[in-house]
């Protein structure tokens, strides 16, 4: 089912009708009232990661649209978005400001693994939702130990499992080489990949190499991986090293089936600088629609997005992935609030967030948002694409649970 504005409207009418019978039992925690829902956000509007600040702005714009169209169940969303400059110490201060001073109902889309780690314990001690955090680390989906925290985008492990599934489908006798960054991020991907290959991981992975963030290049690692005789390569690197690895493999004439983690699949900063002759044919995974892909630039879903951008976010770039991201994650938040109805307690918010099964207009066809009491990983499906020298071309089926 496609979630158009008509079905959304129908759903909200239905929700109103249902909640109408229970009006006597309105329940509120701090930050919620008959008129308003206070939501806090923390984004790096300044500092080294300020490029990601675009997401916070897109979310604010989307909530403006929701408010202009009547709010959620008659309540306006007040989104208080503050800057932490990607500094975890500042994140703690800002989270405390939002929770203790502004008394928000929940925190939404706090960005980055270190900033979220800094407030992980605090949010769970205070029992305030830390919802749909903007990082791919797998540790955000741990409902047993941290029942107040949930991720949103595909986590590193499930993405790696998708590549493993594709390899098992297409090349069950592959000899695989893996290059990964020697930290939590790299190990997270590797674990998912090995889990995905299952019993065959030991025999299929013929070589592993690591690098440190502080290393100048990964050239020697690529040379030794080639020497292992591998015909398949899983490249778990951040953008700078990804470009180096792609280039070096091309230079020494190594042409494996090349899987590249989505952290580094940006066309402008990785694929083109690495040299088109080297990067053509590489495979990576996607879950939201690329606003520059002509096949998605039509239909009601695209028109709605364009209308939103024109009216509520005129300063944002139409071709910026972050705007699609902000728009879509904003819709997820609104859906949770809708389902919560008049029971706007923090407990019910988490209950509803852990009870989703839906699609959204700017997610790739077949990709869904699905959670459960034991499943705090909203998006796990992705589609693979190959780089054709200019842009990414989606192919094949959608992988993931």
């Amino acid at each position: 089912m496609k979630l158009t504005s008509i079905t959304l409207a129908l759903a909200s009418v239905a929700a109103l009708a249902i909640s109408g019978t229970a009006w006597a039992q309105k329940k509120y925690d701090p930050g919620a009232s008959d008129k308003e829902i206070l939501i806090g956000g923390i984004s790096p509007y300044s500092g080294p990661a300020s490029a990601y600040g675009a997401i916070g702005k897109a979310i604010s714009a989307y909530f403006d649209k929701v408010n202009a169209e009547g709010g959620v169940n008659g309540r306006r969303i007040k989104f208080i978005s503050v800057d932490d400059g990607y500094n975890p110490a500042k994140t703690v201060e800002q989270a405390r400001k939002l929770v203790e001073q502004e008394e928000v109902l929940l925190l939404f889309q706090t960005l980055g693994t270190p900033p979220n780690s800094a407030i992980h314990k605090y949010m769970n001690d205070r029992k305030v939702p830390q919802l749909f955090v903007a990082t791919g680390a797998t540790k955000w989906g741990d409902p047993k130990n941290f029942p107040w925290t949930m991720g949103w985008q595909p986590n590193y492990q499930s993405e790696a499992r998708n590549y493993a599934a594709h390899i098992l489908d297409t090349k069950p006798n592959a000899k695989i080489a893996v290059l990964y960054q020697n930290d939590d991020y790299g190990k997270d991907y590797l674990k998912g990949f090995e889990d995905g290959l299952g019993d065959k991981a030991k025999t299929m992975i013929v070589a592993k190499a690591t690098y440190e963030v502080t290393d100048p290049t990964v050239d020697s690692q690529i040379v030794s991986l080639k020497a292992s005789g591998a015909d398949t390569f899983f490249n778990i690197t951040t953008p700078k090293f990804a470009a180096q690895a792609i280039k070096k493999a091309g230079e020494i004439g190594w042409k494996p089936t090349h899987y590249l983690n989505s952290v580094s699949n940006a066309t402008g900063t990785v694929m083109l600088p690495a040299g088109v002759e080297n990067s053509t044919g590489i495979i990576s995974a996607f879950y939201i629609k690329d606003p520059t892909d002509p096949q998605f630039q039509k239909g009601k879903e695209w028109d709605d997005f364009v209308a939103f951008m024109k009216k509520y976010h005129p300063t944002g770039a139409m071709n910026d992935n972050f705007n699609v991201y902000g728009y879509t994650v904003g819709q997820t938040m609104v859906e949770v609030l809708k389902k919560a109805g008049d029971n706007l307690t923090r407990e019910n918010i988490m209950k509803q967030a852990a009870n989703l099964d839906m699609t959204l207009p700017m997610l790739l066809p077949g990709v869904n948002i699905k959670t459960g009491p034991d499943d705090f990983f909203p998006i796990e499906r992705e589609q693979l694409a190959t780089f054709n020298g200019k842009s990414w071309e989606l192919f094949g089926k959608v992988y993931g649970r």
Binding site: S46, S60, S81, N87, E93, T113, P114
Partner: protein, 328 residues
């Protein structure tokens, strides 16, 4: 006569300020108390840098590194060895003093801008060094170390407000801050202070007067690093989390900004430096989401234009003008 009445007013004023500082946390929310806590932490850090830069004329763009070392010293001691939080402060001071002296020794050969660059290199390197795999078992790598907030040792209520962990930590930090400011005041107002200023203003004349330049300069570097490191330990305890990304090169620059804004070679100026570091970024963020850094810059330039000698310079000028008026 005038001197005596000045002194009387100084003591009355100080007593009033102290009472206000003791009552204040019970009138504010925990979150505000936490912010005041950080103001004091930054004030001590700025004070440390001011000893070096303001009094001794040595520039450091790397004091964020000592702040980080202090914070990590406290965090590792608490997390891995179960040391109580208060006992980590002297250790942090000593570790950073030793480290600062070691850095200060080669720094003797580097004057002015070159010293600034050498220390800046330290500030840039520290976040990456903290992520180094070999020490990950201790530092927690990229993930950092999560600490538990110290609990108040006894129950107490005032104005119907309990002594929360934040309020307890406020009093603890206040006590440490007062001790550090008294120490600095004792150190700088006498012979040592005069020697430092002499070295700053005219090193050759200072040597001629019998001041041992290398010893004084290295020990100043060490003491300065010790103060800032102790502040880092306090900060780590207050935030209850340390990670490499908390201590980027920006921190070193903010500390230097704090020194200049408060007033070079001014001990009370460090408090204004702390206030600036803590609150001005928040104000900038509230004014504009698009360019908080630009707003910060404008505020900084505006302040420097209004008070070229820092806040304390401005206060002194205002005071002099008032005195001139009452006497005239």
């Amino acid at each position: 006569m005038n001197q005596a009445s000045d002194r009387k007013w100084f003591w009355i004023g100080s007593a009033l300020v102290l009472v206000a500082l003791l009552v204040l946390p019970f009138l504010l929310k925990n979150y505000r108390v936490f912010q005041l806590n950080l103001v004091m932490v930054y004030a001590v850090a700025v004070l440390g840098l001011n000893i070096l830069t303001g009094f001794n004329g040595q520039f450091s763009l790397g004091h964020g590194a000592f702040y980080a070392f202090g914070a990590y010293t406290a965090a590792i001691l608490m997390d891995k060895f179960g040391v109580p939080y208060w006992a980590t402060l002297p250790v942090a001071f000593v570790v950073c003093f030793v480290f600062g002296t070691l850095i200060g020794f080669p720094a003797l050969r580097l004057a002015g801008h070159f010293l600034a660059l050498a220390t800046f290199a330290l500030a840039v390197a520290v976040p990456q060094l903290l992520k180094y795999k070999g020490i990950e078992a201790w530092t927690g790598g990229v993930q950092g170390i999560v600490l538990s907030k110290p609990q108040p040792p006894f129950e107490f209520r005032l104005f119907d407000q309990a002594l929360s962990p934040d309020r307890w930590l406020y009093f603890f930090t206040l006590f440490v801050t007062l001790v550090m400011f008294l120490l600095a005041w004792n150190l700088l107002r006498g012979r040592v202070g005069r020697a430092l200023v002499a070295i700053r203003d005219h090193p050759i004349a200072a040597t001629a007067m019998g001041i041992n330049l290398p010893v004084f300069k290295t020990l100043t570097f060490g003491t300065s690093a010790g103060f800032t490191g102790l502040a880092g330990a306090l900060g780590g305890i207050a935030v209850a989390y340390v990670s490499p990304d908390s201590f980027t090169a920006n921190l070193s620059i903010f500390l230097l900004v704090g020194v200049v804004v408060g007033g070079l070679a001014s001990i009370p100026g460090a408090i204004f430096g702390g206030l600036f570091i803590q609150f001005v970024p928040n104000i900038a963020d509230e004014i504009s989401k698009s360019a908080p850094a630009a707003i910060y810059g404008v505020l900084l330039i505006g302040l420097m234009y209004l008070m070229p000698g820092g806040v304390m310079g401005g206060v002194h000028r205002l005071w002099a003008r008032l005195r001139a008026r009452t006497e005239g």
